[in-house]
Amino acid sequence: MLSLSNLSVTFTQYDRGLRRKQLRVITDLNLDVQAGEVVAVVGASGSGKSLLAHALLGILPQNAVMSGTMTFQGEPLTPHRCRLLRGKAIVLIPQSVGYLDPLMTVGPQVQRVAQLTGRTKAAAKTAVKKTFTRYGLPAKTFDLYPFQLSGGMARRVLVSTAVVTPAQLVIADEPTPGLHPDVVSETLTHLRELADAGRGVILITHDIAAALKIADRVAVFYAGTTVEIAAGRDFFTGKLRHPYTQALWRSLPQNEFLPVPGNQPNLEQLPQGCLFKDRCPWVDDLCREERPALRELNDGWVRCFHAEG
């Protein structure tokens, strides 16, 4: 349904005076999403996860330049098509209640989302009330302000904003941090249900453990690029392909709890060769010279010269 290949995003910033600074936030990113599946996008902060969502919705800041190809349902996703599709075919479930207008009650806000997909006011209102009921939100929630919602209610309201649209692609941006474990698993269940109903879901998160509970496939981001695309089960069967994914997996508290040494490269001056070379245990001269391309390996994808099945 969605396919991204060699997507790059560069920000142009003005440093001191008129000196321009190029910030390569996404480099040669590849990703594809099918209808009915949950694709988790995981990576450390600063790896370009949220910007990917903004790129898909065409809401990147004006100083951003995009290259590469995006296709959605077989047709190229141009900026013009982005504008037509966002909110209708492609929707965002935002991170927190901070993405709702603090001075407007939540019912009318979700209703507005439904109206923007072409429903009449009355139909939109019915749809919102039905969705709220389905998620076990009390009737008075419609007239509450965002600050009056508890963490769990807020999550359900935010998921409702996607449910009231007919969107085929749902992007959930960091839907779980800072929440009670019960709320986390509830939210994940809701996302899984969306996929089971035939929508494609991109779950953007840095919480691999949470993502693995529902994800069919996991795309691992590093410094704005996809280093590996693996099936969810590959994590448990030890079939991980890329050294970064392996290190990430080992760094989880329930595993070896070993930190990944080093930092992501400076986005202002991306190094020559592989973006992971400074932290890689397998690094050799080839990695320092040339940037590896994403290649298929064992039913998954990896961006590494030395990965073997």
Partner: protein, 349 residues
């Protein structure tokens, strides 16, 4: 999955009682602060006037000073208590003020409270028109400029606002007078009514006709400030997370301004609007002088030029009160507009 429990709804009556209590506490606090403010104003005014070169006896007698002997002057000073020590004079004066006696204006030869009441009535209409005009136009221009920030429309509006913000009030007043009253002859040159017409014979239209140019001048000055602040605030709102989400929902710019922008800039706009009362009041002194409009501002200038100490003190008190009331109204408007203040307070109790 457990839902975080909300406090039970309090019975309605208790809620009403609590609200009345909150209101009473609010009013009590405000009155206490007003009292402290006025005492501070009283002390400052008295000290400053004691140190000023104005000799009250001389100001009272005026041009007849030459005909009055030094003995007689001393007699007047003694009768007024001017020979008393500073603190005695201050307490005596404060006692009179507390009883509502602001003294008699030397310029108008009437009790100060009467002069202020009459003059303020004339100024009030002008201030009200200017206040509304500057508020509405400032909000409209600021919203437009903020929504299309960086475009040529924004640049034109900003240039206009900066120019006006930098222009002295009296200069703008003179300019408008030259254009509308002298060149185009569509506005009167001065005063609150046509010359030679008794005040009871002045029609509403004549009245409005004379009011319009001073009110316009005053509002033009206020517009700049409100425009620039509104623009800045709207730009902030348009960079917020909730506007980003609205964009992701496919909302267009004008609907974002309509549904989210106006709602979120209203609170600062109202604060600013009420805070601008003090600036308008200050501006009216100059504007009324240029247009020879018989309002409170013009009385201030006359009082100052002719050393009318009682009138000046009265006006100082009145303006402090006026500005304080303006700010209090803004405070009262907050809970009406902002649900976080209105409902947040109840939830935490």
């Amino acid at each position: 999955m457990p839902i975080k429990r909300r406090p039970e709804r309090q019975p309605e009556k208790q809620l009403v009682n609590r609200r009345v209590n909150t209101l009473l506490i609010f009013v009590g606090q405000k009155l206490l602060r007003l009292g402290l403010l006025l005492i501070a104003v009283a002390i400052f005014t008295f000290v400053l006037l004691s140190l000023s070169p104005i000799d009250p006896v001389q100001a009272y007698i005026g041009a007849d000073m030459m005909q009055i002997s030094a003995d007689q002057q001393a007699l007047i000073a003694e009768r007024w208590g001017l020979d008393q020590p500073f603190w005695n004079r201050f307490l005596d004066w404060l006692g009179q003020i507390l009883q509502g006696n602001l003294g008699v204006s030397l310029v108008f030869n009437r009790p100060v409270s009467e002069v202020i009441a009459a003059r303020f009535q004339a100024s009030l209409q002008m201030l009200a028109i200017a206040w509304l005009l500057s508020g509405l136009l400032g909000l409209a221009l600021g919203t437009l400029a903020g929504a299309v920030a960086g475009s040529w429309i924004d640049r034109v509006i900003r240039l206009y606002a900066y120019t006006l913000a930098a222009a002295p009030t009296f200069w703008v007043a003179l300019l408008l007078l030259i254009v509308f009253a002298v060149s185009w002859r569509i506005a009167p040159v001065c005063c609150a009514a046509p010359p030679g017409v008794l005040s009871q014979n002045v029609t509403v239209w004549q009245h409005l006709h004379h009011l319009l140019l001073p009110a316009m001048t005053l509002s033009i000055i206020g517009i700049a400030n409100i425009t620039l602040h509104t623009r800045q605030k709207l730009i902030e709102v348009l960079h917020s997370d909730y506007v980003l989400f609205a964009l992701a929902q496919g909302e267009n710019l004008w609907n974002i301004v309509r549904y989210h922008g106006l709602r979120n800039i209203l609170l600062p706009a109202i604060t600013l609007q009420f805070a601008s009362l003090s600036e308008l009041f200050g501006g009216s002194v100059l504007v009324e002088q240029v247009f020879a409009y018989p309002g409170l501002g013009e009385a201030t200038v006359q009082g100052a030029l002719r050393s009318d100490v009682p009138l000046l003190v009265g006006i100082v008190f009145f303006s402090a009160l006026f500005v304080y009331i303006g700010n209090t109204l803004a405070d009262l408007a907050y809970p009406i507009i902002d649900p976080r203040i209105r409902l947040g307070g109840q939830m935490n109790r």
